[in-house]
């Protein structure tokens, strides 16, 4: 699928599977899982540096910035002010203007505060950020995010870390048909079939963390997700057969006795 590249804001991505880097046992496992997943975009969080114990290793020692696009997120931000502040800090600490924007609305569901999200996106786009917003599966909000300048939209499949899979395929499908920028299904994937399903619906990419990091064998699950995203993409491009209630014979009647 060499001609099937994902392009966002002029940047070309090889992989349609993007992965988070949290919740792994150690950095060696993080690195291995990412390699096996085939992902070339990895998300990271921005946090205070540990100033009392400098012996701790750094995640970025394990991730070659030439090989991976580092996508900082604003995870844990519940206000527009915090999300904007963390985005600016991420840009100051990093090398690019990319940010996965999260403005959360509620601790129990981690659902996005979509009003705050649109407001924060507007501010950051004006400051030159490439804003990839984590949003709800709401087509109207998705369009508003595009209107304020987001070059891609990242609707959730289900609550973050829930593993519930694609809860509302019809809304996601409407988003994919209505919205003219790449759609990255983010959060809620539980297993390989969920990722394949998202891609079969027409998602441009899938982003996940817990489904891989929380699996009993994260490396094996990373490989499964790699295949699932590729299979789902191929199936989407191949064009599935229509669903019919009754059988259609696939062997000819001619030549029967």
């Amino acid at each position: 699928m060499a001609d099937d590249r994902l392009i966002i804001a002029g940047r070309e991505f090889k992989s349609r599977l993007w992965v988070g880097t949290g919740k792994y046992k150690d950095f060696a496992e993080t690195k291995k899982a990412i390699e096996v997943s085939g992902a070339d975009v990895v998300t990271v969080a921005v946090r205070r540096v540990n100033i009392t114990d400098r012996s701790k290793e750094n995640l970025l020692d394990y991730l070659d910035p030439k090989k991976y696009t580092i996508l900082p997120n604003t995870a844990g931000c519940y206000t527009v002010e915090d999300a904007v502040r963390y985005s600016r800090l991420a840009r100051a600490a990093g090398v690019s203007d990319l940010v996965k924007l999260e403005v959360l609305g509620d601790e129990r569901t981690l659902f996005p505060d979509t009003a705050g999200l649109i407001e924060a996106a507007k501010i950051l786009v004006k400051e030159g950020f490439i804003v990839l917003p984590y949003t709800n599966d709401d087509p109207i909000v998705a369009q508003k995010l595009v209107d304020v300048g987001c070059p891609a939209v990242m609707p959730l499949a289900a609550p973050i870390g829930s593993g519930l899979g694609i809860r509302n395929p019809y809304n996601l499908k409407i988003i994919m048909e209505m919205i003219k920028v790449p759609i990255i299904v983010d959060a809620g994937v539980g297993t390989a079939s969920d990722a394949a399903f998202a891609m079969e619906l027409g998602a441009d990419a899938v982003l996940m963390n817990t489904a891989i990091a929380g699996a009993q064998d994260p490396i094996a699950m990373a490989e499964a997700m790699n295949y699932a995203v590729q299979a789902g993409r191929l199936a989407y491009k191949a064009g599935r057969i229509p669903r019919k209630l009754y059988a259609t014979a696939s062997s000819p009647i001619e030549g029967m006795l």
Binding site: K23, I51, R91, A92
Partner: protein, 72 residues
């Protein structure tokens, strides 16, 4: 000799010497400058000024970097 000052670094009070720069603070903490963002009294500093910005008594310094994360 420089006078001792108190600054807040990532929420912890530290005794520091007046007239020291942000670069010197990072060196003392064994932190590589190319991987962190520094916020001084809520102002995000450009890396280019780390060498010039002097720390003074009561300053609040936040040093942030990237850690593993998906979403939260």
């Amino acid at each position: 000799m420089h006078d001792a000052i108190h600054i807040h670094v990532n929420g912890e009070v530290r005794t520091w010497r007046s007239g020291a720069t942000v670069t010197e603070l990072l060196q003392d903490l064994d932190i590589r400058t190319e991987r962190v963002a520094v916020e001084l009294n809520l102002e995000i500093l450009d890396r280019a000024v780390f060498d010039r910005r002097l720390l003074k008594d009561g300053d609040r310094v936040e040093i942030l970097g990237f850690i593993g994360g998906g979403s939260l």
